[in-house]
């Protein structure tokens, strides 16, 4: 019996081994997972007694055990288990697991996610019952079938599914090593979060008198990525039936994952589904989706749960403050007014300027509100109150515009002897959805002759012409984002704040993947691309100073534990990223004086 075990390592960006560039095809294993009464007999046929009512719990404990064994990371410990520890009645899986777990000394709780229900897939159950004794093991290193060929629209989907899915938490173990009827797959792996490395060879397996088979949810993770990529390709090739089938599969695979991976996959699956149905023209285009009030609300939660927006505001403000040094009348034009969260800190800094504050004027631009409430005015009123409290002379004007391109320089009413700053946080990229809009806006910006223009944008290229490339980029980007939110601990996992922040990102994912043309507004581009664009428009770079860098670093240390976040300086611009992946970039510009 051949048992080639694959080194399940793949390259990683950040703590995310799933999205490596390796294209190894994973084996097809059928691991039926059922929650109904029939499973008792099935496992009993293999020699195990597990009550159906306990299945979920047993699966849960197996996952715990897998994680803990992975974290043990010492060969000594594992061989100790193999040879020294005495197990009693391993066929009673529930009790056996208890002993194993207690040996590990109260293993850490698995992350706070609702434990995936063992999926009841009738097809899988039926197929498994018919084929109960085999777990097919395929040779690992080479792909047995290239992805596109499997997903032939004519093929039987029912037959496809059981072969492909192995659920994290499946309960299968066997006390005998060799059995002509049954093939065993034995593997110990590290937990999903840690970089993968473990390989168990055949020889060590034979030493284990009571080997343990654990389903590798990391394998599912890699399978999940492949399914996502295959689906994107199918959609790009207009093979919509296959795309549909894959979306379903992605959903099932995603449910077997934990934490950030599951959320990202779910959002991407939904977005793919949306894209397919739009092409199919089954459901109407949900424009209500992009309701700006909802968007503002979600952004507030995003503001609270992770440091990206705070970083954006702090770094931009520092640049503006420095540009306003010595000026007695200042005017900020904010393209991204929203709730005005950026401005209290700037106003406070101006109030404490040596020599006293300048007179401060703020022009806020915002989209039209569906319920006709004048959100912009309300924000202005709050800021005016704050200004009064700290004795800063303040003037406010709000402009409603569905697109920044609708702005005329004269409207902005720039007065003589006024130092102007233009600020845009995550707004400029939207202009790329309509031809000519960007040029128009940059022209308007130049026309007001600003001292400084601060631009904060997502650091990613989500605007490439090829759909699959965009999709891949976005998958990497949002995986890092979700990872960072999972890891940063600013709020309790599962809290409303976190859920809504995730929704905020989910809407972006939806837009990048499902929309096209003028509707696709989340056209993020990299700093390098923005540099070229700004330079072409006649702007010169302004270096963000070390003040900004230090304060940003301190901000992270204070709020995010500082562990995974990195502030980087990049030729005068500042970037905030998660581990090695930069995620947002702040840059500053001015019109060079000739």
């Amino acid at each position: 019996m051949k048992r080639d075990l694959q080194d399940s390592s793949s390259s990683s960006t950040g703590g995310y081994p799933m999205f490596g560039t390796g294209k190894k095809m994973m084996p097809e294993d059928s691991q039926p997972q059922q929650a109904d009464a029939g499973v008792d007999e099935l496992l009993a046929a293999l020699g195990y007694k597990v009550r159906a009512s306990e299945m979920a719990e047993v699966a849960h404990k197996l996952e715990q055990l897998e994680m803990v064994m992975g974290n043990a990371q010492e060969d000594g410990l594992l061989t100790h288990f193999a040879t020294e520890t005495v197990h009693y009645n391993p066929s009673d899986i529930a009790t056996w697991l208890e002993t194993m777990l207690s040996e590990f000394n109260a293993p850490p709780q698995p992350p706070n996610f609702p434990h995936p229900q063992p999926l009841i897939d009738n097809n899988a159950a039926a197929a498994a019952a018919a084929d109960s004794s085999t777990i097919t093991t395929v040779d690992f290193p080479h792909r047995s079938r290239p992805p596109h060929q499997i997903y032939d629209s004519d093929s039987d989907l029912g037959a496809m599914i059981p072969n492909e899915i192995a659920f994290g938490g499946g309960a299968e173990s066997d006390s005998t090593v060799v059995d002509g009827r049954e093939k065993k797959r034995i593997r110990t792996t590290t937990g999903a979060a840690a970089p993968p490395t473990a390989i168990t060879a055949d020889d060590s397996v034979s030493e284990l008198t009571r080997p343990v088979v654990l389903v590798d949810s990391q394998e599912n993770g890699i399978r999940l990525v492949h399914a996502l990529m295959a689906c994107a390709e199918a959609v790009q090739q207009d093979n919509l039936k296959a795309g549909e089938a894959l979306v379903k599969q992605i959903g099932l695979l995603a449910a077997s994952q934990a934490g950030a991976m599951r959320k990202v996959a779910t959002y991407f699956a939904q977005a793919l589904e949306q894209r397919i149905y739009r092409i199919y023209r089954i459901s109407p285009s949900p424009d209500a989706f992009f309701d700006s009030t909802l968007s503002d609300l979600l952004q507030m939660h995003f503001y609270e749960t992770c440091p990206y927006l705070k970083f954006a505001h702090f770094t931009a403000n520092q640049a503006i403050l420095e540009a306003f040094s010595g000026k007695s009348r200042v005017h900020v034009i904010d393209f991204s007014m929203k709730q005005g969260m950026q401005w209290p800190a700037l106003m406070q800094a101006l109030a404490l300027r040596p020599g006293g504050p300048p007179s401060f004027r703020l022009t806020g631009i915002g989209p039209p509100q569906p319920d006709n409430t004048d959100a912009l005015q309300q924000v202005g009123w709050k800021l005016a109150q704050l200004a009064e409290t700290i004795h800063v002379e303040f003037e406010y004007r709000g402009f409603v515009a569905s697109s920044l391109a609708d702005l005329e320089p004269q409207l902005l009413d720039v007065r003589p002897n006024e130092a102007v700053a233009v600020n845009s946080v995550f707004e400029l990229h939207k202009l790329l959805s309509r031809p000519g809009a960007m040029e128009r806006v940059l022209g308007t910006v130049k026309a007001v002759r600003p001292e400084i223009v601060t631009v904060v944008e997502q650091e990613a290229n989500h605007n490439g012409p090829v759909f699959v490339d965009r999709f891949t980029e976005a998958l990497h980007y949002y995986s890092s984002m979700f990872d960072s939110m999972e890891g940063c601990g600013m709020t309790l996992p599962g809290s409303q704040d976190q859920v809504r922040s995730e929704m905020y990102l989910g809407r972006q994912i939806l837009n990048v993947v499902a929309c096209e043309g003028a509707e696709r507004v989340e056209r993020h581009e990299t700093l390098a691309q923005w540099r070229a664009r700004m330079a072409a428009a006649g702007f010169g770079p302004v270096n963000l100073g070390s003040n900004a860098f230090r304060q940003a670093s301190m901000l992270l240390a204070l709020f995010a534990g500082g562990d995974g976040y990195r502030v980087e300086e990049n030729n005068g611009c500042l970037m905030l990223g998660w581990h090695t992946r930069p995620l947002i970039a702040t840059s500053a510009w001015r019109i060079p004086k000739h």
Partner: protein, 155 residues
């Protein structure tokens, strides 16, 4: 009537004079002694001294700073919520250390650590960046609270 004597029954003004000379931790502890002490220890002037005594100057006048900080929530809050946490190594959820976070936070905070001295004699020092950051965060907090109040009234 019984005459009560002892430090816990000090005259308010005298207590104030004494508390002018203590450090933040002691001042915080003092507030827990009794109602009278609490009333005295939360005096903004004392906390202003704590904040400014060991902070780098940010260039503005004392009166200027005072009016802004008092308007935005006060020195006691500034210290408790932002200055004090900036002194400590940030709490980390994972097992990886605060040494990694201190490598990202290029902190200008220096805590003179002389192992021989009792803790109370370790003097904190806040640099300009810490002060600016703390003030910014205080103003954001004030603004956020404003939002909440307005929402409550509106509904």
């Amino acid at each position: 009537m019984e005459m009560r004597t002892g430090i816990s029954h000090l005259d308010e003004d005298l207590l104030f004079e004494v508390l002018k000379h203590v450090d933040a931790r002691t001042l915080g502890l003092a507030a827990c002694v009794s109602k009278q002490w609490w009333k005295t220890a939360k005096d903004e002037r004392l906390w202003e001294m704590i904040c400014t005594r060991q902070s780098a100057s940010i260039g503005c006048g004392n009166q200027q700073l005072r009016s802004v900080v008092l308007a935005l929530g006060g020195f006691r809050r500034l210290h408790a919520l932002y200055l004090w946490p900036l002194l400590k190594p940030p709490p980390t959820a994972s097992s990886s250390s605060s040494s990694s976070s201190s490598s990202t936070a290029s902190s200008a905070v220096t805590v003179t650590s002389l192992p021989a001295l009792p803790r109370d004699l370790i003097l904190p020092h806040w640099g300009k960046d810490e002060v600016h950051l703390s003030l910014s965060l205080l103003s954001i907090r004030y603004y956020e609270k404003m939002n909440l109040n307005l929402n409550k009234r509106g509904r």
